[in-house]
Symmetry: C2
Subunit: 356 residues, 2 copies
């Protein structure tokens, strides 16, 4: 991945930024993100899939390969789960120097109710062979990245693939998946960053050695340089975001509000352990106060937080930071990495408070 | 509106580009754009509106002011119309130098089926006074632009407002408007650029002189400098776009395909008159060939075009251009203007064809 040599966003990044989209931060008011406000990253093109001819092939190291139609999948036991999805590259454009890829600021997140059937049941029916170590999920989307032509595919270790919460999902928020979210079927891997939730699934293949395809073996690693192997990206680091208070100025998005009590609110999540604490700062992170927490929507979805701020006239940099039960805390600044992934540094919102 | 002093996109533009989103061009395969793929521009924040307490106030120079609930609006005769909407700023980021605002490339467009009640019937019931010259539409979204705090509002001359096709719409593609498309009610002005289709409507006001609010009197003009008044932006200029053929390279979005017959396809539209011709060029606009045209979806929606391209190995710049019945043709290059609006220059798609 090349690194930007200047501070201006390049036309290539802009092309990606125009195709993919963020949750506008006022969308954090919704516990369940409405379709069309949820973040969306598409590596290649969104495939146009005919439900009638589509099949899901389950094969490789299994006793009984399966070929399922969409109706076959829907005939199985259904489960609905609210899940927070975040792109591993969220925050990339805030890094300096900037890895050249999708230039996310902070909104590459969303929470939806995904309905599908348990992956474990399908794998059980197919009969995973004892020598299987990973399960590879292949999408119908195809393109060139890292100078390699490939279908988008990612793997999970068998033990992860067999977890209860893994879903083969055909509905979002009670509706059939729209094309951009993976119609007719996608993988949902609660707690993991978005790259693992393979869309437009066409096959699931059990294999006897770790999968090394581009999106798994090369991309999505925390590393300092291209030469380094680094650590693979897996679960979502804790993050909290706030609904920017007041009203915006169109271009700068600076926020303006009158002095007085102001309810700050937002959402916080972590893929490692439940969020147990959210703090708020009105001075760029010098001092912190405890926010109140609502119950999480599920074990794998964000929880709402609120904080009563008594806003006096002046200029502020509002921040929030989450801590999870595993002791992970959002950093004030980000440790740079070559892929620009796993950036969970605290959000900073510029606010101007006027006399009321 | 300031002008960018360098070629790199600024962080302020990136913030807007991340909030707002384009139709990914493969989305042109859909006659009706799925929710979540339609382009979206929000000047300020997306308001969170409670349907139960929301009212639409129709007032100003009318005989009988009305205050309507959402149920009142829905109880009126309903009409569904496929309409192509395009942002007036589509293509802005292709201008040199670049006006600093939402940095659209080419995808700020979409076609949806909008269901609502005719604006003319509501205005008739309220009894427009003879001295009314314009009707002002005010949204619930509020912010600061051009150093003025205001609610988003735009006007139409009375004769335009009374046209049959103007809708007060509460559904998109058969579903209640999602928050980002203007829930619970928005204006639909078929044939006009998107800035006129006021979302989150809260009032409709008949006035006896031309409305001069920021979004009408200052913004959205074709002009050479800030000092000039310029011509107001109204109807959509003709444009055609193609689905980029082949498969993409992730970062550059250059397209790769094997030699052989390749069906190029896309959509074309104009708000001035029906599209009567689409031409395709494989050499950057030096020579052109006629594309075949399907029927338009409605008087106010795009029509599909196709062209059988016999792709030989090599590198190409594919282009398409539309002509409407009023004789308007897409230009090869764009005439610059200060606001970066009404840019309908031809699309250019880089394609590499390999030996098959």
């Amino acid at each position: 991945m090349p690194i930007a040599s200047n501070s201006g966003i390049t036309m290539e990044e802009l092309q990606l930024g125009g195709r993919n989209h963020s949750l506008p931060l006022e969308g954090l008011k919704h516990a369940i993100t409405p379709i069309g406000m949820h973040y969306l990253l598409t590596h290649f093109d969104i495939p146009l899939v005919e439900a009638e001819t589509w099949r899901l092939e389950i094969g490789g190291l299994v006793a009984k390969p399966l070929s399922l139609s969409l109706d076959d999948v829907k005939a199985r036991p259904a489960r609905t789960l609210p899940v927070t999805l975040e792109c591993a590259g969220n925050g990339r454009a805030l890094l300096e120097p900037r890895p050249l890829s999708q230039p996310w600021l902070e909104g590459a997140v969303g929470t939806a109710e995904w309905t599908g059937t348990q992956l474990a049941l399908v794998l059980e029916e197919a009969g995973l062979a004892p020598e299987a170590v990973e399960v590879v999920f292949t999408g119908l989307d195809r393109g060139i990245q890292g100078e390699v032509e490939h279908a988008y595919e990612r793997s999970l270790p068998v033990a992860e693939a067999l977890r209860d919460e893994m879903l083969l999902a055909y509905e979002i928020n009670g509706q059939p998946l729209p094309p951009q979210h993976g119609f007719p079927l996608r993988l949902i891997v609660p707690g993991w960053y978005g790259m693992t939730h393979v869309k437009w699934l066409r096959s699931i293949t059990a294999v006897d050695e770790p999968f090394t395809g581009y999106q798994q073996g090369t991309a999505y690693h925390v590393r300092d340089s291209e030469e380094e192997q680094g650590e693979p990206v897996t679960r979502i680091r804790p993050r909290s975001l706030m609904v920017p208070p007041g009203i915006p100025e169109f271009l700068s998005r600076t926020r303006f509000l009158p002095a007085g009590p102001c309810l700050l609110e937002g959402r916080a999540w972590s893929g490692w352990a439940p969020v147990e604490r959210v703090e708020v700062s009105a001075n760029g992170g010098e001092t912190w106060s405890e926010a109140a927490l609502d119950e999480p929507l599920s074990d794998f979805a964000w929880r709402r937080w609120t904080y009563e701020w008594d806003a006096a006239p002046g200029e502020y940099e509002l921040c929030c930071r989450a801590t999870d039960q595993a002791g992970n805390v959002q950093p004030l600044g980000q440790e740079w990495n070559y892929d620009g992934v796993c950036n969970n540094s605290v959000q900073r919102v510029k606010v101007v408070v006027s006399e009321s």
